[in-house]
Symmetry: C2
Subunit: 302 residues, 2 copies
């Protein structure tokens, strides 16, 4: 079934211990859609400003993303983010952020998107997440993400979102913020009580854990030797995860586990270069090869 | 083949956010041997002082440990450690430490131990590790551990140890200290260049990674909901790991992977109570049940 994502699109400047890039395409949507594109069709709803370069739209085109829902808004400016990673690339600071068009109304959802079955509500205001959810009456699986800003400022609205979604994919730091619980397993269980039918807590370089009524799945990250830029790893994880589910139209616990392994695999490519450069270089066969290698690492003889 | 461990035996006082214990049996040897005892016979070489309570020797007896190599030394005092865990139980401070008998000569190795094939050199002075290694002419697999103290003060001797062992099991913080490399995979590869044929980097709550000429294995920790006291988790991991290898007499890469999963499983019990209390309560069937549950979590459908 069709997969749609609504998330941020940004112009990023990124400093890491090994190098820097200025004004590259970023935001959850590009990482999500690029990752998803290896598995099947992917639709995008999002707004950018009139400063958004054509070449960045071409990046979406290059991944075959359906950009009918991408609005370039006259008079608005694109969301911009400048991040700086520490010597330990698992730590970063935000040097500057300009929300710009992200604070404005959502773009209209194209008529052709209304039959979307798999919906990923990437980070945005919970009220917008609720509006988006209602825009897809044929939804089969809705999964959401959020960040500290909305946990702090719009907790009540977020709780409404949690009651209406099937799955939540969230960082460990945000899971702790929401539940007060540092243990990821216990935090995930507390989040389940808030509404979602399953919860995935992402732990960055340390992998991810899924709690689901049918069981638990805990996966390490792929043992990457080269980490150039971790930006977008979590969004790539979510993109490949959702796309595997949509492509197979199977939301069973075992399918979620396989989807997590695909998410882990694609994220391991994302971090090998800045922006989506590495994802532009690889093919589905590269993903499958690393997926096989990764899942073999986890296979334990009895 | 027979498994032997030479490590510390201590009287521990431990404070955690959920409780405290005073003067319980501790040290790498008790955690290692208790974990190993579920898989086959286990021999111990180590010294304690005359203050070491009979009831602590009974703990070793209770696990069926061969304590012919345990020397209670008249005029000496047992190694003592007082640790305090933070609210985040993955962080701890040493409140006090008295090395006592640990600074003295090694106990004699019983004649009956000389045919030991699987040797674990738990944390001690590298010169002692070398002496112990030479004491077992029929050794088939020698694995060592070390800590920051010996990395800092006896690095040359440690490098001699590394050249003569088959495997190294080490914490991520010590791998970083030895190699200057924060990435566990790259650090493990640098450690391989120092001599060991395989290296396992332990990442505490985040699992462990094995680098071996035949491949890589990366395992998360078991997703524990209850962590009462993490003391001894790494030693329990090593004990079950070595005991599985010795019991099957199989040192292939696939056997090492299975051994890591057993190590992870037994460590997950250790942390559920203070000292070795939890290991005193369980049977091999409990370990096998959790092992099956854990390895099923890691099994990914294609």
């Amino acid at each position: 079934m069709s997969l749609i994502v609504t998330g941020s699109i940004s112009i990023d400047t990124i400093d890491t211990p090994t190098g820097s890039v200025q004004e590259v395409v970023g935001g959850s949507s590009i990482y999500f859609t690029a990752a998803a594109s290896f598995f099947g069709p992917i639709r995008l709803v999002g707004a950018v400003g009139e400063d958004f370069p054509d070449s960045f739209v071409d990046v979406f085109h290059g991944f075959g993303v359906d950009v009918e829902g991408l609005e370039r808004r006259v008079g608005s400016k694109t969301f911009r983010w400048h991040g700086r990673y520490h010597e330990d690339v698992n730590q970063r600071d935000t040097v500057s952020v300009e929300l710009n068009v992200l604070t404005e109304a959502l773009p209209p959802i194209p008529k052709s998107y209304e039959d979307s079955g798999y919906i990923f509500l990437a980070v945005t205001h919970p009220e917008n997440q609720l509006k988006l959810l209602d825009a897809f009456p044929k939804r089969k699986l809705v999964v959401a993400d959020t960040i500290d800003l909305y946990i702090t400022t719009t907790r009540d609205e977020l709780m409404e979102v949690f009651k209406r979604i099937d799955g939540l994919i969230i960082n460990d730091s945000e899971a702790l913020m929401l539940t007060g619980e540092p243990n990821a397993v216990v935090a995930a269980d507390k989040l389940l009580e808030m509404g979602p039918k399953f919860v995935i807590v992402k732990k960055g370089q340390h992998g991810a854990i899924l709690r689901h009524p049918d069981g638990t799945c805990v996966l390490p990250a792929y043992p990457a030797k080269t980490v150039i830029d971790p930006t977008g790893a979590g969004d790539s994880f979510a993109g490949a995860f959702m796309a595997h589910l949509a492509n197979t139209d199977d939301t069973s616990f075992n399918s979620l586990k396989t989807a997590m392994a695909y998410g882990t695999t694609v994220a391991s490519f994302t971090i090998e270069a800045f922006s989506v450069e590495r994802l532009q270089q690889i093919k589905r066969a590269d993903i499958d090869q690393r997926f096989d290698e990764f899942t073999a690492m986890l296979k334990i003889d009895h």
